[in-house]
Amino acid sequence: MLVSRWEKRVFNYILRLVGNREDALDLSQDVFLKAYQNLRKLEDPGRFAAWLYRIAHNEAYSLLRKNRPEGEMAMEPSTANATARMYPMELSLAVERALSRLTVDQREAVQLKVYQGFKFDEMAEILGCPVSTIKSRLYTALDLLKESLAPANTGRVS
């Protein structure tokens, strides 16, 4: 029940952070195992989604830290090769390219807000940051994405 409802969302969230399908699958399993083991510690069932994504965030960042030196944390993940075959349409490719230019923090903020639909305070809980930091990351990301996907002269997708 727990897995079937959330596995696809969590898997895609992690996939777009780590950029590797195998790693995303392994991490997703770890996330649900930890969630299952620690379910009793969840005090407010209404905050389950934020709690689950907090676990997913920690797992993803543990892998990113392990795989990369600290200075390279903001480098783009190798999602383009992994997803190019899955999104042959030009728009999808443009979005992939635009997302890959963001830092991991910015991309995660876009993930949580645009794709997962969390509110600012929930994002702050998941990422362990103040709302102001969340907004800063997200707004910077949106400005970059907007320049790529909706340039000022046309207002349309490039």
Binding site: E7, A94, V95, A150
Partner: protein, 193 residues
Amino acid sequence: MTCSSVDLKAYALGEPSGGPGEAAHIESCESCREELERLRVTQTALLSLTDEEVPQRIAFVSDKIFEPHWWQRMWRSGPAMGFAAAALLAIAIFAHAFVRPVTVVQSTGISAAQVQRMVATEVDRRVTAEVAKVAAASNAREARAAQMLEAAEKSFELQRQSDIAMMQQTARYYESKMGQLMVASNRNYGGAQ
């Protein structure tokens, strides 16, 4: 309300923070409308990415990787545990039959006849001791019985002598009384004549 005070990104993302005047400003401001339109196009483009299907089902408690080990299953199964215990016991008995140290009886130079004599002597000694013990107990009981009998006879003799004395005293009393009655009777008879 001015353009700088409007949080267009929060507005576009569905969490407006500027109050009721914000929407009115955006409606009336061309640059804000254009900016909002670009943000919405960006969002629409982002949402064109569809979620990827999970390659294989994520394992969970019901899946194979979480199945208990063979020893966990056996531990939870009463019959299997009983069978394993019985098998272990059988193996132990079988092994014991082969590895049991052989008891070697070393000759000490004592013949069977000597052993028999020793056994007979020991049996005699023990029997004699038991008989002596029983006889002593019997003698003690007889002595106690004799003492009790003697005491009873003595008591009976004293009682008998006491009874005889009392009888003699009573007889003497009746005898004197009879004498007095006889004398009185004779007097009365002589006076009447």
